[in-house]
Amino acid sequence: MRVEPGPPALEPFRALMSRTVVLPHANIDTDQIIPARFLTTLARTGLGPLAFHDWRYHPGGAPKDDFVLNTITAADHRILVAGDNFGCGSSREHAPWALTDFGFRAVISTKVADIFTSNALKNGLLPIEVDAATHARLIAAPGADVVVDLEAREVRFDGRTTAFEVEPFGRRCLLDGVDPLGFILSRLPVIEAFEKARAA
């Protein structure tokens, strides 16, 4: 199927050069990315200040000076390098909403949870799984300049190039900055025929 050019809902994602933020812990779950008590929102925007809330602020609300997200400028730190198995837990799309609103456009780990990956790709956030050796080098180099090239499907860092895989349809949507809903809507005649055949 051709991806038809529709109005981009998101900023198209082709390649990104940025510095990294490293959160080395394994199994960073969506409750850490945005705690459940903040899910009573009706919006999908404005959640950046709540990203990693309970790691980022003291119980009284004051920012923790030594927590990395409080020590960097988001505009030039758009790549999050996280420990193994990132984004596990709940299906809340608020997790990628919070990360993108903070300023992230890519997350690199050895493994990214299924539902998080699906949600991220629909929100202009590229989840990338790399091998353990590349991951270890990235973890050891917070603030490194990294190139994430979605067209070439490559991470380039420290003179080395690492290929990554990304689901082709999700990649196409990200490259063009479009949401998949338009494509599913274009299949409505086929969906109707399917339902008719099943009801028969």
Binding site: M1, H25, A26, N27, D29, D31, Q32, P35, A36, R37, L39, T40, T41, L42, A43, R44, D54, P59, G83, D84, N85, C88, G89, S90, S91, R92, E93, K111, A113, D114, I115, S118, N119, K122, N123, E167, P168, F169, R172, D179, P180, L181, F183, I184, L185, R187, L188, V190, I191, F194, E195, R198
Partner: protein
Amino acid sequence: MAPPHPPHPRTLFDKVWKSHVVEPEAPDRPALIHVDLHLVHEVTSPQAFSELNARGLEVRRPDLTIATIDHSTPTLAAGPDGRRPYVTARAEAQVAALRGNCARHGIELFDWESPNRGVVHVIGPEQGLTWPGMVVVCGDSHTSTHGAFGALAFGIGTSEVGHVLATQCLFQRRPRTLRLRIDGRLPPGVGAKDLALAVVSTLGFSGGTGHVIEYAGEAVRGLGMEGRMTLCNMSIEAGARAGMVAPDETAVDYLRGRPRAPVGDAFDRAAERWLALAGDDGAAFDGEISLDASALVPMATWGSSPDQASAVDAAIPTPGTATARRALDYMRLEPGKPLIGTPVDVVFVGSCTNGRISDLRAAAAILRDRRIDPRVRMLVAPGSEAVRREAEAEGLHEIFLAAGAEWRLPGCSMCIAMNGDQVRPGKLAVSTSNRNFEGRQGPGARTILASPATAAASAVAGAVADPRTYAVASHAG
């Protein structure tokens, strides 16, 4: 008459998947999959409805969509003025938004006044909405619960909630399959939650990623539907897309007579179809793992992810990784010491994992004629209004109240802790829910996941306890 060429043997998953493919997968595009039942709740739906409303789209199949309110709803009764004690105005506004969206789009909502209201993964099966062979989705990761019926059931994000509302379909890549054979019988005092925790600790926190798990074997066959729901519910805690159990007479018997199940001849015809969904002999899985149920004991978590679990009567493990060390630091547990005897502040019985009538009975059996330790605060939140009615008809609520526990209204309550039912910072909870992440039950809260029996025993002891040491009033025979 045997066909001349036996058909390619297919798994349960293969059969369900194939019958829902509207358009097959291609290299540049996932399969388009049709959804039979879309469950909706207040927390993950408002942005999806906004998207539809902004694009001028209608909900395509309101007849296949059911909504409930459960996540951010208070579990304390309305005040004398009729006002519900919502934790915040925003929580109340979110429920109001769902009410408005359902009215606008003609979706049936199990609202406060509905006798069917409850936790989304409790009411689907209970109302007979979930059938074997269906594709069931919901903006909630524990949608895997419905796989107990041999449905393909999985959690989706809010964008996908919008896709299903607008088209009744989803783009999905075919997942890999994993068969988990659980042979032998569960020993007395060991239940489905213990089995689920053993499965998650065996697979690891991401061991199921990319897979649909089919649970098979004697121990799974021996579970009732509620036990199978508990088991499938926690599939996501191993990262799996879904868990499934082949439909058998246990599933058919559960569904017969349920409000939304087929009736009469239609039920018999449906049951025949459902029973034919079981995987064919010789069907291939991408992976196979086996477990021996007869060796299992009551389980409890010691860390901050659900796979960090061991026998409740085991010593707290010596951390072998930075992840385990960090978890034990957060939990303030000392390696080498017994977990049993660790003082407990809060006990929670409820959730889509363990908020059904059999769960409440298991907890009540231990609390009967006992009192919880006065230092412990115990909440019991039935999974639905129907569970609440059944429990009250049996007098279970009186057992909980007499023991010193709080008997709350149905809802997710302290499992996700977004309705104000929270564990205070630093306090330790034994909880029948599904996640022990840092702060899951409130900022700084520490959570030990366990079965309803272990939770109840711990409430009595005022410390983590082995339920096998609490003699349950004996039944006939």
